[in-house]
Symmetry: C2
Subunit: 264 residues, 2 copies
């Protein structure tokens, strides 16, 4: 499928996407030369595509001549999973208001957890999650709890992969992780201490939708408070139940999160 | 610029964007036929482009066979103006916590205000704003306050346009609006009552960056409380000053909001 491209083997859509992709990893603004280098496209092609994307508002050109993702793209993307985020947000806010701890909600996307909501105050906790950011499932409390309640084939496929060691404390032994997930499923919550970031600990509970685990709801504190995290369980469970009630009417197909591990 | 397209007069980039555009207006999922109709592209072209966009994660196909914007697009877009939103969010949250009223922050994009943050509780207020949503500048308090402190040429260009009448109470007379904006600039805040939505009233103050108005910070209440809105001024001004301090270090080019009215 050349898709009308003059360069064989690469569709024009893939070239447009190649121009956008560098902005996934490099979160600041990029120069035309940098976009050309990262995308592997000739400068002339990059120049033309970038120009068209700027015209649409997909990219924007700063006063320094560098490019960043445009406001129109940002506004467009707000429509993704809006129903879920709008419904869940006040409850995540309640969780933060009650516990005073960084509170977040994450869904599974492929083999990652993707953070879709995160409320925090001025209290400092070593940060790992960010809205729109991904982390491995096995090293985060929200990820562990989703993995524990997911279908067997998915959990097995996950554990059969090379598991990233984020810190010296990350559990990466597949057999021991499998045991841990059984225990999480039995007790209904997951706790991690310094598995994704030194100095931070977290606890999470599942949020169900149509009988399946749809999301993980959790809080993050300093790792020095890891042993007292279970005291937040009643609140976490109460808020999770409220999110379940508030999202039960949302059709599965408009929810965030993919049913199949689309990106491995 | 045919851009390698087989259909003259339309670049391939514009076709890719034409497939995406229907998702701006139609916020739910769309069928292939609908995307083809809205984009004006043949079904075969639509099929191919949609397939490529799904593969990338730009669109996703639901269990009902309909398409929606994908998670990867949403995650990508979170990088837009992240510094500003991350810096401002805790303060908007404080504003909500202190006043108990729907609190939001908006920037100017072209001739619209674009809401970038919005914190609310369970209290019911007629809704107009949504994160990622746009509203006219002249009928919203955040918009009026930005317009009042913007440069003369921009204000004049704005008032020279046809002004949308959202409700019977919307101020649309250019001469009277110009006077109102002078007064807003003098008093340092804007108040609207039922100008954008019946039943709602709002108050807003400017947020400055590098000597220019960068955003509007406001709260929305029931219009029955419009006359008591000024009691929130000290809090609004205090929080605005905090946002100014927290965002002063962010370079102008990575802030949200365009310097020129790019979309009129």
């Amino acid at each position: 499928m050349a898709g009308g491209s003059r360069e064989p083997g690469r569709t024009v859509t893939s070239k447009v996407l190649a121009v956008i992709e560098p902005f996934e990893e490099h979160r600041r603004s990029l120069s035309l030369t940098e976009i050309s280098e990262y995308s592997g496209l000739p400068l002339s092609t990059t120049h033309r595509l970038v120009g068209e994307l700027v015209e649409w508002g997909f990219l924007s050109k700063g006063v320094n001549g560098r490019y960043q993702l445009g406001l129109r793209l940002w506004a467009l993307a707000q429509n993704t999973g809006r129903q879920l985020r709008d419904a869940a947000r006040p409850f995540v806010q309640d969780l933060f208001a009650i516990t005073g701890e960084l509170s977040h909600l994450a869904v599974r996307d492929g083999f990652d957890v993707l953070y879709i909501e995160r409320i925090y105050g001025t209290k400092r906790v070593p940060r790992a999650s960010r809205v729109g950011g991904r982390l491995p499932m096995h090293s985060t409390a929200v990820g562990k709890v989703i993995l524990a309640f997911e279908e067997d084939w998915l959990r097995e496929a996950y554990l059969g992969r090379q598991l990233e060691q984020s810190t010296p404390h990350t559990h990466t032994n597949p057999a021991r992780l499998a045991e841990e997930l059984v225990q999480i499923r039995e007790q209904g919550y997951a706790i991690t201490a310094e598995e994704v970031r030194l100095g931070a600990a977290s606890i999470a509970v599942p949020v169900f939708h149509t009988g399946r685990v749809g999301a993980g709801l959790g809080i993050v504190t300093l790792s020095s408070q890891a042993s007292t995290l279970v005291r937040h369980l009643p609140v976490l469970r109460g808020i999770s139940a409220q999110i379940e009630r508030a999202t039960a009417h949302i059709p599965l197909e408009t929810l965030l999160g993919s049913v199949l591990p689309s990106r491995s």
